[in-house]
Symmetry: C4
Subunit: 239 residues, 4 copies
């Protein structure tokens, strides 16, 4: 890459509040207030045409600035023992790209997503514990199901559909979730997100608006599902 420094900075510099570098900063601050990304966990990445914008790893998500954002070309080959991930721009600070990068990439390659969100929401974690045996969170007959899309990028579910979100096991290193997440996405092509046991959830969509809207709907459904389960109410009717 022979791009000059100035050209690299231009990739994350814009007065448009809807520029991905500005959006990531703003949305991460908003997700922090929802309790989704405290303690540096979680985040959002955005892909536009041929570029992917990703936040750094291990930083306070509510204090990200556009200049902290990594930009990568898309598509690109998977990094391997012999090849590194390719970047169009790295922040000048001593930062590493988000550890979620390979998982966000799953959403791009498997579902052609334009954005992927990862939260550590306690609603998600409690749901993985309460539905641990079933390896699948299920809820039916909730209006908010209508805000979730088949596979995350298809038509929206109907009120009469049962929402199912697979739960995969957690791994000590976040990167190692890549294969099991991909397998779950392929095994459950209708799933709009993947829950990770004792960890959180990954949700994607065609663009950041659809990823965000679906994350809100799923988080709502996880929250009400947990409340219903603890109150002794069945979350699925007519099983």
């Amino acid at each position: 890459m022979s791009v000059s420094i100035d050209q690299e900075d231009a990739l994350v510099t814009s007065t448009d509040p809807l520029h991905p570098a500005n959006l990531i900063s703003e949305l991460c601050a908003s997700f922090y207030r929802l309790g989704w990304v405290t303690g540096t966990g979680g985040g959002i990445c955005i892909r536009t045409d041929d570029k992917v914008y990703i936040a750094p790893s291990g930083v306070q998500k509510e204090r990200i600035e556009p200049s902290h954002i990594f930009v990568l070309p898309y598509p690109q080959a998977e990094p391997s023992p012999h090849t590194d991930r390719i970047f169009l721009r790295r922040p000048k600070l001593n930062l590493k790209e988000s550890a979620c990068t390979p998982l966000f990439w799953n959403a791009f390659t498997v579902r052609n997503a334009g954005s992927c969100i990862h939260t550590h929401s306690q609603n998600a974690v409690m749901a993985t514990l309460l539905w641990e045996k079933e390896k699948m969170f299920k809820i039916s007959h909730q209006e908010m199901i209508k805000g979730v899309r088949i596979g995350g990028n298809g038509p929206t579910l109907s009120y009469l559909d049962t929402l199912e979100v697979p739960i995969i096991n957690n791994t000590p290193n976040e990167e190692d979730l890549k294969d099991s997440m991909k397998e779950a996405m392929e095994q459950y092509p209708r799933a709009a997100g993947i829950l990770v046991l004792r960890h959180g959830i990954y949700v994607w969509g065609d663009d950041w608006q659809k990823a965000k809207t679906q994350t809100e709907c799923l988080d709502y459904l996880l929250e009400i599902g947990v409340k219903m389960k603890l109150a002794g109410l069945p979350t699925v009717l007519n099983e």
Copy 2:
């Protein structure tokens, strides 16, 4: 309608923060922070004299701008297989009016309301589940009952009144709630709102302030009612 584009835009353009188009934007952002309208669900409409202001369907409610607002003349005949709804102004974006429009209209025609609010508050949904058999949420002897008006537009209830909010069944398409909501409003003329099973609540008032205030009171009462029920406390005394 031969209104020019500029005249149409003028309908939603004002520096007055209390203009309906500005209020809808501001209040929806505020409702988002309360968890009432996440995932694009819920919202508020305002009627002033002969005009109705309504937000679009399926948009992030905390990011609505005045220019996104629809304006409709009031009164107007119900749309039918042979007639469309009439608009004074549609936003230039590729948007559809809120799916709640026919339900908001119920509040205008049945109760002469000046504003109607719809939330997906989890307090409302939990209440519909815990009072599902009775088809009626009931609570008595709570100070906040005094903030609710008989029929939503009459005098306020007394501390000695029992609050009753009917629960109607949900339907796969939001528009299809129109008739059952209207029936419930007519069958329970003292009700200040209508709960929808596994979905949320509709609340109205003479103006946006009264609709908002009553929505807050009802949401408070639904929240405390759910807490009381789960703690084994009766929500109605002297039954």
Copy 3:
């Protein structure tokens, strides 16, 4: 009162953010975000030397403006069937002073308070329900007890003191709480606040800072007390 309109407005007009009229607006908005004053309920009044500043009744507490504030001379005789309350300034809008006025006045006359806060916090209401039989909320061995003052205006309690907050019955009209609140304040001179069954709490202090701080401490203690009770933990040790 022959004060001119301009002089009256001057009573609530200041660029100082700590002027009572500005503080009431700001603090009510902050209390709204805490869920203490939704649905127009609750509020704060401030007394400085010979003037009392009070918000209107029945208005959205998060939208109060300094120009909405009532100013009254202090001290003044109780209003009676033959005498009205005396005002130095009434807002020009069609507003009535807060229905809490006689209760705030109790705090001034019985405890010489400089400020009194009333909330409808659900923590307070749940506590009145869970301690209804005892007519007294009690908690011991909590660090936050140290933020509460004996009688609301004396020295702070010690960690080894048991906090006791009396619970009085609610009345259909808020004004009618005046006598029972006063009696409870006289019967329990160490109490820093008065809980009202199924309604909320009144808390006072030498100034607005002390009233606010104690309201926060008491609300915290009511919240943790309710959590402890529901978890089966005793709230008082060594009884």
Copy 4:
């Protein structure tokens, strides 16, 4: 100390938002919104090289201004019956330094911390009650454990590590926690924080970012631990 008044004020006056005096103000306001420092309790101190910045005692933590901050030289001998604590700057107001000062100092001397945070979070207090007998909060197999560092200043824990946070008894005077906190820190060198029964938690880190991040992770783990315990789920696997 012959430092002139102007030089003293210069110690807390900066346009840099990351100056410790500005950060303490901003972070305390943020912690207030999280419910960590209501009722004047809790706070954060920051040490940079040879200076310690500390907020006053008994003030509203969300309203601290940089001019309220105390500055102390570091290191300095422990105050004793014969020596006072040494200050580079005291605010002109009638304020005393935070009662947490000796406890924050523990973090500096025992763990060489650059920042220490104290919260009264209800998650912490509920955890001390539910794990009171064990005198140790324990949780395993939670992703957020990875955000906590061994001893608060070492490498981060692994997902396979069990998090352990000791619980010490509370004392009537906060200063008197100094010795038992120090003992617990020495007895449990891997602990990243110290819980205080019926009171709250102390957490530290190499700098304010690491202290804050770890406080968020620990608070998250305390919250989910309490939820799990109340739902009958074990918080430690493979014991």
